[in-house]
Symmetry: C2
Subunit: 230 residues, 2 copies
């Protein structure tokens, strides 16, 4: 582990206005939940300085493998920081994945505790897929509008009845809380967030460069219908 | 480097019919070119056994950082095999990225040589973005229809005039060669390939599970128009 597979950016002195991005990791995360938004941020960072940290409960590699599919292929990410020693962060990205269901495991209980403790110091919290379930269990979505993965909507939404769960939404913004629907919706929520923070033209430039058809209407969600939520 | 960040799947004896997937890596690869298709394959592997290998010119971590943007954030992948000692492969996925332009570098010259040498033993070659430029330089696209990133189309298509370059296409299939357009089109080409190999319902299931709106028409390409290729 002498060479970290994911390298944080070291800012130069004239880039001290960089937004400091953190990504929360736990075993059984969904790969595209992380790397969809992250590659948009990679492209953004070519023109707008950012820093990146990867946080988990230990510094061990974090696998996307889920116990319910032991023969599946998977990838691992090497964190840069633990939850107990985090760098200052402006933005925390929380992915989802089947690993969120291991509610009694150390990685998930410590993920929830970290979200609860770090949220007051964040400028933005962004969740993808069932990552909003972890934020909900941290209590920070109480009384707020939020969404989650649509196939898992009924399962996740009962985790915390104090949240105003929105079934038909590609993503939902409530204050500094940006929650999105399943897996690929992470690309749409990060582009919407980039549009909000850096301007619509910047978001459009990132999307066009990646030949991605942005969903610009947060209510445009055919998967709510597909999964019988209407 | 005792713990590889990307873990290949070890098949059990009853899964010997697994398709053996390889991903080619070089410095300056585009992250979503790799992890978009790969996460579709992760999901597919929950129901259809696959193995995964990650190949590069050395076993050192391969960074997505490009020299033209030294301050940008980036991620690295640890390969499992070198080009000089590859495992048997059925499928090779070749991503693109700004690193493809370093034509005189060891990683790119050895990537092109590897594509040329391994292609005859593959069942399928799949490229994303400017990855088709590497396949073209390997000579294996001569006389075949292929596409590439649309913003870079004019630049890449002159690399090899023997290729029948198709400007307006989300992806192009010619025999066992599956080439796609820019970055996010890798998700569409892998879903089309899954549909071809495993059946449309399987591809639809992967896409729906990821809440991804499949592009099912390979000619549906607004980016050819956006970048003035019509």
């Amino acid at each position: 582990m002498s060479v970290p597979p994911l390298q944080p950016h070291t800012p130069t002195p004239d880039q001290e206005v960089s937004l400091r991005i953190g990504v929360l990791l736990f075993p059984g995360f969904q790969v595209l939940d992380v790397f969809g938004p992250l590659d948009c941020l990679n492209v953004l960072s070519r023109t707008h300085p950012l820093t990146l940290s990867l946080l988990s409960h230990t510094l061990d590699p974090v696998t996307s493998k889920v116990h319910s599919y032991p023969a599946s292929i998977a990838q691992s990410i090497l964190p840069t920081h633990t939850f107990s020693n985090p760098p200052p962060l402006d933005v925390l990205l929380v992915p989802g994945g089947l690993g969120t269901r291991l509610l009694d495991s150390d990685p998930i209980t410590s993920s929830i505790a970290f979200i609860r403790s770090v949220y007051p110091s964040l400028r933005y919290l962004i969740t993808v897929c069932t990552g909003s379930g972890l934020a909900a269990r941290a209590g920070i979505l109480d009384g707020r509008r939020a969404t989650t993965n649509k196939r898992a909507f009924r399962e996740i939404s009962v985790w915390r009845s104090e949240v105003e769960w929105v079934a038909k939404a590609r993503w939902v913004v409530d204050g500094n809380l940006w929650t999105s629907s399943g897996v690929s919706s992470g690309i749409d929520v990060i582009l919407a967030w980039i549009g909000n923070v850096f301007g619509e033209a910047v978001a459009r430039g990132v999307a066009d460069g990646m030949e991605y058809r942005m969903v610009s209407d947060e209510g445009d969600d055919p998967f709510a219908t597909l999964y019988g939520l209407e």
